[in-house]
């Protein structure tokens, strides 16, 4: 219930003097940047477009979720875009694309930047078009069970809106804060893929702006339609999508069972997937995962052995599951343990803090080779000195998404680079065994020839037809470009890299010895350089961008530097010796202290505390602009969008049926 303030009358208590009306506009100071492209673009004065040209802000767009070793980012590639454009409408996207095409500049579409494969990172500069501001849910048809959304809508937001109407999304990526277009472009496999199939099953229609500046719509059945999925921004900028949704399941009940070895766990999962239980989702978690979970919880809640986590939806399915379980003679663990682990599905990055840092490999493995692949990966890991966590999401009855994670210390440059090579060794072995890369981006380019031939042909044809000039996300996917005539491309070329990795693998004891020298060197040379508390937090951050999507300051300012991810990247930049401008520093202070970032943080970091120490450092350098901060706060809290944000995004974790619960609907 909300009581309007109108008509309350004059303040009767001294503490309640009538407040000044909130400011009607707010625009933070911007730094001047000498940037020809940016100034030309700005001169066009396009509607719904924000041009970011300050190097501090562009820096954020030279990476995605994964940490790119500095020498690669700055030497091999031209990862810093010339200009970043936030385009918030279809018209804006068209105008920007036309501009870029007229200049012959590469166009790199970007959503929330939550993929780790480098798909949204420029390799030869260009214009990054950030469409995460296109976040309107255009329509929801309850009868037909469809939803039409703009491309930048985040899955969590869509699900939240659907929930109000008793609906739910079919499948979702593990990062629910990724955008609709982002998931269409990268993988399309994730939670509930087992029961609801690949994302392309759910999507009915995709609207895409091609480099000629025209809007195309591809529907299910169109020849071009399948090419869009996993196209990684090669064909155009996706601007909206229509998808089928489902009724919200009446009941959702996770179960967890522990097994003595991975083989029996996998065969249980396989039998369950084929049974008439029709579970919504099945996950295999390796014993090592529970070691970290227990460590995080500070108590031995879970057995440290391989487990199957299964989510069953609906009463009927639940009954079938009970029957199925009885027939196997196995016993499941307590419900709360299952629920805890099921909730953790959205927080795969939590273990990062023990590095700080995490690396891994992600491949699609056919079920028939899965036990073998798992065993061989474990062996290889043992050979090259890794203690991995395995997680397998069953995406169909006969294939699974195998994630092999391991902890690394990304603050240790050499060690981290060596660990990154190891991840490629793992991927390479799995590909050789018959797996497919999950996504290509930059890092999986060496394995691009492992994609199905037909798929590659389909993509080539689509590219030739939609982007003949090769402007879209250029220098990637079909080839890999970079500086120095594309030396990176040669190095990462499948015909070079894969045999190289194989050699390293075959001689793994030797490889390991060589690498150990590297580690020891790193240990000797780099350890004494102590890491500040701030940098430690920055290294613990998964850079997943969940915080960006819920940040009210980002809503107002539109500059990612005000978000958690932006601030921690600032910390990293400072640690790397970069100069922070006064304007950049001032933006760091534009924060509402709402802790929304902390609530959604994948790594469960104490962000606000971190901001405070970062601000302290910056204040010592540049001072702070108290007037701007106050104006910002007053303006922000006067926005209706802000109200919606706090009603929606920040209430997770608060009791739903508590006093005033669901107050928005009263």
């Amino acid at each position: 219930m909300h009581i309007q303030n109108e008509g309350v009358g004059r303040a009767i208590y001294p503490g309640n003097a009538t407040p000044a009306p909130p400011p009607t506009e707010f625009s933070p100071k911007t730094e001047r940047a000498e940037n020809k492209v940016a100034s030309e673009l700005a001169a066009l004065n396009l509607k719904d477009v924000r041009v970011a040209s300050a190097s501090g802000e562009r820096m954020l767009y030279s990476r995605d979720q994964s940490e790119i070793p500095k020498f690669m980012k700055d030497i091999l590639f031209d990862a810093q875009p010339e200009v970043v454009v936030h385009a918030d409408s279809l018209e804006a996207v068209i105008a920007v694309v036309r501009f870029a095409a007229s200049k012959g500049l590469p166009i790199i579409p970007r959503g929330s930047g939550s993929s780790p494969f480098g798909g949204s990172v420029p390799v030869t500069g260009g214009i990054v078009v950030d469409i995460s501001g296109m976040d309107k849910i255009i329509s929801i048809d309850v009868q037909k069970k469809t939803a039409r959304v703009e491309a930048g809508v985040r899955w969590a937001d869509l699900d939240h809106e659907l929930e109000k109407k008793g609906l739910a999304i079919n499948t979702s990526p593990s990062s629910k804060f990724s955008t609709v277009a982002g998931w269409i472009s990268t993988g399309g496999m994730g939670l509930n893929s087992l029961s609801k199939g690949h994302l392309s099953w759910s999507v009915l229609e995709v609207e895409i702006v091609t480099p000629d500046g025209s809007k195309r719509t591809f529907s299910k059945g169109d020849l071009m339609f399948p090419a869009v999925f996993g196209s990684e921004g090669q064909l155009g900028i996706i601007t909206s999508a229509t998808m089928s949704v489902r009724e919200m399941p009446k009941k959702s009940r996770p179960h967890i069972l522990f097994f003595d070895d991975s083989k029996s766990a996998l065969s249980f999962a396989h039998a369950l997937a084929k049974s008439d239980v029709h579970p919504a989702h099945i996950v295999f978690e390796s014993a090592s995962k529970f070691r970290y979970v227990n460590r995080a919880l500070g108590q031995e809640h879970f057995k440290e052995s391989d487990a199957i986590l299964v989510n069953v939806e609906g009463d009927e399915s639940e009954r079938s599951f009970e029957v199925f379980l009885k027939s196997t003679g196995l016993t499941e663990e307590k419900e709360y343990l299952a629920r805890y682990m099921w909730n953790e599905r959205f927080f795969p990055m939590k273990v990062r803090k023990y590095g700080p840092g995490m690396l891994g490999s992600e491949v699609v493995v056919p079920l028939r080779i899965l036990p073998d692949a798992l065993a061989k990966t474990a062996d290889l890991c043992a050979d090259i000195g890794l203690s991995p966590l395995f997680e397998i999401h069953f995406i169909s009855v006969d294939s699974g998404l195998l994630l092999t994670y391991y902890i690394t210390d990304q603050g240790n440059t050499i060690g981290y680079a060596l660990d990154a090579v190891k991840s490629m060794m793992l991927t390479s072995m799995l590909i050789d065994l018959g797996a497919r890369p999950y996504s290509i981006g930059i890092w999986n380019y060496p394995f691009s020839n492992a994609e199905e031939k037909a798929r590659m042909e389909q993509m080539k044809a689509a590219k030739a037809s939609l982007d003949p000039r090769g402007l879209m996300n250029s220098g990637k996917y079909f080839t890999l470009s970079g500086r120095f005539g594309g030396v990176a491309g040669l190095f990462f070329n499948p015909s070079f890299m894969r045999p190289a990795l194989k050699t390293m693998r075959v001689f793994s004891p030797l490889t390991n010895r060589v690498m150990r020298m590297g580690y020891e060197f790193a240990e000797r040379k780099l350890r004494p350089k102590s890491r500040t508390e701030l940098l430690k937090v920055a290294d613990e951050c998964a850079m997943c961008g969940a915080c960006v999507s819920v940040c009210p300051a980002y809503l107002v300012v539109g500059d990612e530097r005000v978000t958690g991810r932006g601030k921690l990247l600032t910390v990293k930049a400072m640690a790397g010796g970069a100069k922070i401008t006064k304007e950049h520093s001032d933006r760091i202070f534009l924060c509402t202290r709402c802790k929304a970032c902390e609530q959604v943080c994948q790594s469960k970091l104490e962000l606000v505390k971190t901001y405070e120490s970062l601000e302290k450092e910056l204040e010592a350098m540049h001072g702070k602009d108290a007037a701007e901060i106050e104006k910002f706060v007053k303006y922000t809290e006067s926005l209706p969008e802000y109200d919606r944000l706090i009603e929606r995004g920040l209430v997770s974790g608060a009791p739903k049926h508590g006093m005033g619960g669901g107050s928005a609907d009263l």
Binding site: I12, Y13, G15, T592, R593, I629, I646, A654, G660, G661
Partner: protein, 477 residues
Amino acid sequence: MSLAHRSTAWEVVPLTYERYHVSTKSVPNRAAPIPKFVIIRSDNCINCGKCERACIYGVHKRSEQDPRKMADPINNLCKNCFRCIQDCPQRALAMAPGPDYKSLGRGVWTSLRISTIWGESETGKIPVLGAGYRGRFAGPGFDGMWTDMSEIVRPTRDGIHGREYISTSVDIGRKPQLLEFSADGAMRTDMPPIVELQVPVVMDATRLRSFSDEMLAGFASAARHLNTLLIAPVGVLPEVSDSDLSGLLVPVFPEGTDPRGLMLARGTRMAELTFSPSWKQDLKMFRSQYPFAVVGIRMNADKNVEQRVLEMAKASVDVAHIIFDEEGVEPDNPEGRHAKDSLRAVHKALVAKALRDRITIISGGGIAAAEHVPKTIICGADVVALEKALAIALECRDCVTCSKGSCPVGLHTAPRDWVEGRVTNLVGAWRDQLLEVLGAMGLREVRRLRGEVGRAIFFEDVEREAFADMTGGATDG
């Protein structure tokens, strides 16, 4: 209106008509107040500022140092309306009765009464305590009587000052039963000295646990302002005694003072002697030296109080100042009566002997709320003495640590102006409430309220009426 009779010759003084009015102004607290309710802001607060917009009392504000964060709630402004709690999207707010508030006060000096006095002293206004009365309807002492037709439900619409004038003035001193005139029209009655007050309230500092000169000076200024008296131990405030304020100061001579050596400051209008077995001689000696001063005798109330007051009235004592303890009960007497019963007995005894107007009754002790003033008067007193309420007005927390030399609110550092303002506010607020009661009863003078027990309902009467005749099965025969 001031009637200063200094000569025996009766003359008609042209009066300038001026309505008595206590002007009050906000006198903010010096110490952090003890809040009645405590708002608890838990860690999941997202600093969204909704509470600030929800609260019309100004409890919630953004921090001045960092506007991105909410400051701690200003609990003492909270009126318990729950709006912030309802509006908080995070359910991060909770409210609890203030723990310090709950442990405040004792006996009749309840936390509610103490905080009400604080509020009255700060604002000078009739307190608004919120919706509904949640206490019991009867209790010991003054809670066992209800003034008739005068429950203050809300301030009257036209305001108490907009109506026809209601007088709250009282005269202190004995009044002759009749006036005699000679054939030529000159008055032959020897007029006893009289002090007129504009409020039926005097201040009595003698029984305060501790006081400073600044405090007393503040009380004295307030007394001038209010046109009333300050009763204080003899010898205090020498500079006041020498000034034009001396008329306001009522020195109290302790028991055992040699009446022959008494010295009154110039301009003194009234003095009090302490009751002793030799009170009659003391009185005589005093009168022989200062025939034009009103003289009162202070005494602790006990079971013979009505008998003694009667004797005093017969002996032409001007004022009987009857003292009760903090609870309003006869002191030093485990079975002591409450002031309401004591005073009724005194009043009744005087009326029975047709001596009521021959003496003025001041009653002090246990006066903890505005309502106690009319109730004391209904029971038969002419004037009410404020004692502990004066300290409470200065934010005293009634913690008794002053006897150990420490005070959480630093009463001894209270400046005189502030003291004056606080006390003026308190008396102003109490007078306004007295006017409400009088107005509701249709009385236009507080003098008429004295002894008007018909204007009140006494619980024991109601109980007797309701139950005394019931036989419950047992019969006499």
